[in-house]
């Protein structure tokens, strides 16, 4: 995991400001500031793997997001706003909710082009869990990019925010994670039939759970593929 210079939220001497929207985030309490500082660490400038990198959503992404939303090739988009302007409002509303949600753009490391969006909803640092939703552009869906993006984010959540459980929300028939090689990666904990209406069909939402203990077992297997080498933590433990 490499930490870049640019943070999605800057806390300087004045009020913190959202880089994406330029809007000030008004703090109401000291604990909110502490919370914001904690969440600011969520992808501070980006997480980098061999295939993909994650970086915060920026205004110049709105056009592409708008295109993905309009094409709506996956039920993932049905839970997000419909248009460019509403996506902007969405980003602003995320700020007003105290950042329990967070979205990152997934970049292809080869072309540096945006190829997907990975979103954290209902981040609960107190109870130690979060839900991750992943969207990958059609041409990247059969590949490993979604899985790599997911692993980068999970590793960050488990290691930096000390979460004990991460949920992955997936839709029936739309495997953005490409989990073929790791069928026992998750435990399925909930199935909500007829949850979403997508292209005239009712689609099932599945909630899969990954526990911190399981992640630490699997991490040794997947980290070389995702990160192209040992992680700083593994190197530290060997030392």
């Amino acid at each position: 995991m490499r930490v870049g210079a640019e943070a999605p939220w800057r806390i300087t001497s004045g009020e913190p400001r959202c880089v994406a929207t330029g809007k000030e985030f008004r703090l109401e309490s000291a604990s909110q500031l502490a919370y914001l500082r904690a969440v600011q660490m969520l992808a501070p400038g980006g997480l980098f793997g061999t295939l993909v990198a994650l970086r915060p959503v920026r205004p110049d992404d709105y056009r592409l997001l708008d295109q993905w939303i309009v094409e709506a090739s996956s039920p993932f988009w049905t839970s997000l706003p419909f248009t460019f302007y509403s996506y902007k409002q969405y980003v602003e509303s995320v700020a007003s909710k105290g950042l329990t949600q967070f979205a990152s753009i997934v970049l292809d490391r080869t072309s540096e082009a945006p190829i997907g969006l990975i979103r954290i909803s209902s981040l609960d640092t107190g109870q130690g869990h979060a839900t991750i939703e992943t969207f990958m552009a059609d041409e990247y869906r059969p590949k490993r990019h979604g899985f790599h993006a997911f692993c980068l984010l999970v590793d960050y959540l488990m290691e930096a925010l000390n979460l004990r459980k991460v949920y992955a929300a997936t839709h029936e028939g739309f495997d953005h994670l490409g989990l073929g090689e790791w069928p026992d990666f998750f435990q399925e904990e909930a199935r909500f039939p007829e949850h979403l209406l997508f292209r005239g069909t009712l689609v099932e939402l599945r909630l899969l759970a990954l526990y911190a203990e399981r992640w630490r077992e699997l991490r040794k297997l997947v980290w070389t593929e995702v990160q192209g080498g040992s992680s700083p933590r593994d190197a530290q433990s060997r030392a």
Partner: protein, 195 residues
């Protein structure tokens, strides 16, 4: 003869909008030590009354997620609070919840309030499906909900309370089931009528 659960619920409780004079009572409920057990989270902030009122009024402005006072029919006694979160009109589902004052929890009133709320949601918002969740630390609603609704998920060790982690159960009720009366009959069998 099959008795409609909706009509039974109507005889027991009424749902009405929250008024300013209810704020004190809701604040007292919010300060109950066992609230964490019922709402599956111990992380409810301790607020001053002014902060609480400010947050409550912000919540009440959310017209798409109504919040109701539960009144006992006849006497007009305020016995609880019921509402929804995350109504999704595009996909036709919502999450419903009910909170009851401690002295009314072991009776039929909780089920009656939930029935009235669900009836309202299916009619007014034309929803297809209503979810509700409860934790294994909530002894009042877990057993009846297991009988009356479909269990669609069990999120293991989802929330922490009193030194350990507990499971959270997700239940769903479909409009078609509701209309057919299957759920209503099961619901009637869950608890005895207090009258």
């Amino acid at each position: 003869m099959t008795v409609s659960i909706a009509s039974t619920a109507r005889r027991l409780v009424t749902l009405r909008p929250v008024r300013q004079e209810d704020y004190g009572l809701i604040f007292a409920w919010q300060s109950q030590p066992d609230l964490a057990v019922l709402l599956q989270t111990p992380l409810i902030p301790v607020l001053h009354l002014e902060q609480f009122v400010s947050q409550l009024e912000y919540r009440l402005k959310d017209a798409l997620n109504p919040c109701f006072i539960v009144e006992r029919r006849g006497s007009g006694t305020v016995i609880g609070l019921a509402g929804t979160d995350s109504i999704n009109l595009v996909h036709g589902h919502a999450y419903a919840w009910v909170y009851l004052a401690p002295e009314y929890r072991k009776s039929y009133f909780g089920a009656a309030a939930l029935v009235r709320l669900i009836d309202f949601l299916f009619i007014r918002y034309n929803l297809r499906k209503v979810y509700t969740m409860t934790g294994e630390t909530n002894p009042y609603s877990l057993a009846p909900l297991k009988k009356a609704m479909r269990l669609e998920g069990c999120l293991r060790q989802h929330y922490g309370y009193a030194g350990r982690y507990w499971d959270l159960y997700c239940f769903a009720l479909y409009r078609d089931d509701w209309k057919r009366g299957q759920t209503q009959r099961r619901w009637l069998a869950t608890r005895s009528d207090p009258r």
